[in-house]
Amino acid sequence: MKDLFSSSSTNVENYLNKFEKHLQNPVIKSFLEIPDNMDLLVEVIENPTNLSKKKLDDTFREYYFTIRFTNYLSQTIYFNAINYDKKVNLYLERNKSILDCQLKDRYVPLLDYLASKEWQEEGQEVYITSSNIADHLTSYSLYKAIQFLTENQRQLLNLTYIYGLNDSEIAVYLNKSQQAVSRSHKKALKKLKNSLKTDREGRGRNE
């Protein structure tokens, strides 16, 4: 470093000799390798005013800060990313789910794949807003069977399976007794079951 400043006065040389040990510190060394910064130091040595000292001090602080801070944040990111992974793995270990597993030949988890495929084939909206239970069915036989129910029974099924009410809530809503609702609910399901059965048998005979 001394060779670089052969033109400078003995003051500078003395200074560099005196602090040679510290000038080997990586941060100070790299700081002074920038010519502008070296000029600041020379200025301080030649003309040690408060202003020149402060300038050197501030420039160095900014320089050192950038290194320290960048390093600090990089380490933070690195270790937090690792910790996050550990946390996720621990959670998955404790909450095993087959739907979450990565498919071998695809890039999505099983769950996403199933979801996307289902709707592709059905070609319909995910949410059906109709309050009529017949609109929610995907089976044609069941759709036919439901046409044989009475209007009351259909309304009951709407309330139970679309709005998620239980028998006693429906009883209040329809102004009937809970037992009556329960009975006609059971009767409706039985009727559907029978219709499906005869439908299946009928198809069996045809084939």
Binding site: K21, D58, Y64, D85, V88
Partner: protein
């Protein structure tokens, strides 16, 4: 970038725009560390890291960084400790 990291971090304590710029500066590093985690968690991790950075940047004591002469003092002290210890 016109402002130095030093000024930006200093301003981040009160100014959200500066904070955003600082986080943006480190986005490359964040993106790189996303590579190590599974695809479906990358977005979450990215968010977590940004929250963490937000904390770090806001709470960093910028003024604690030593200036040039302070640094020499620190090195001098270390040397003394080293010789005394040895």
């Amino acid at each position: 970038m016109n402002e130095s990291l030093y000024t930006l971090v200093k301003q981040s304590k009160t100014d959200n725009n500066s904070l955003e710029i600082v986080i943006e500066l480190f986005s490359a590093k964040i993106d790189r560390s996303l590579q190590q985690t599974k695809q479906q968690y990358r977005e979450d991790l990215s968010q977590e890291l940004k929250i963490k950075l937000l904390d770090c940047i806001r709470n960093y004591e910028v003024e604690n960084t030593p200036g040039y002469f302070e640094m020499l003092d620190i090195l001098e002290e270390k040397d003394i400790q080293y010789y005394q210890g040895g």
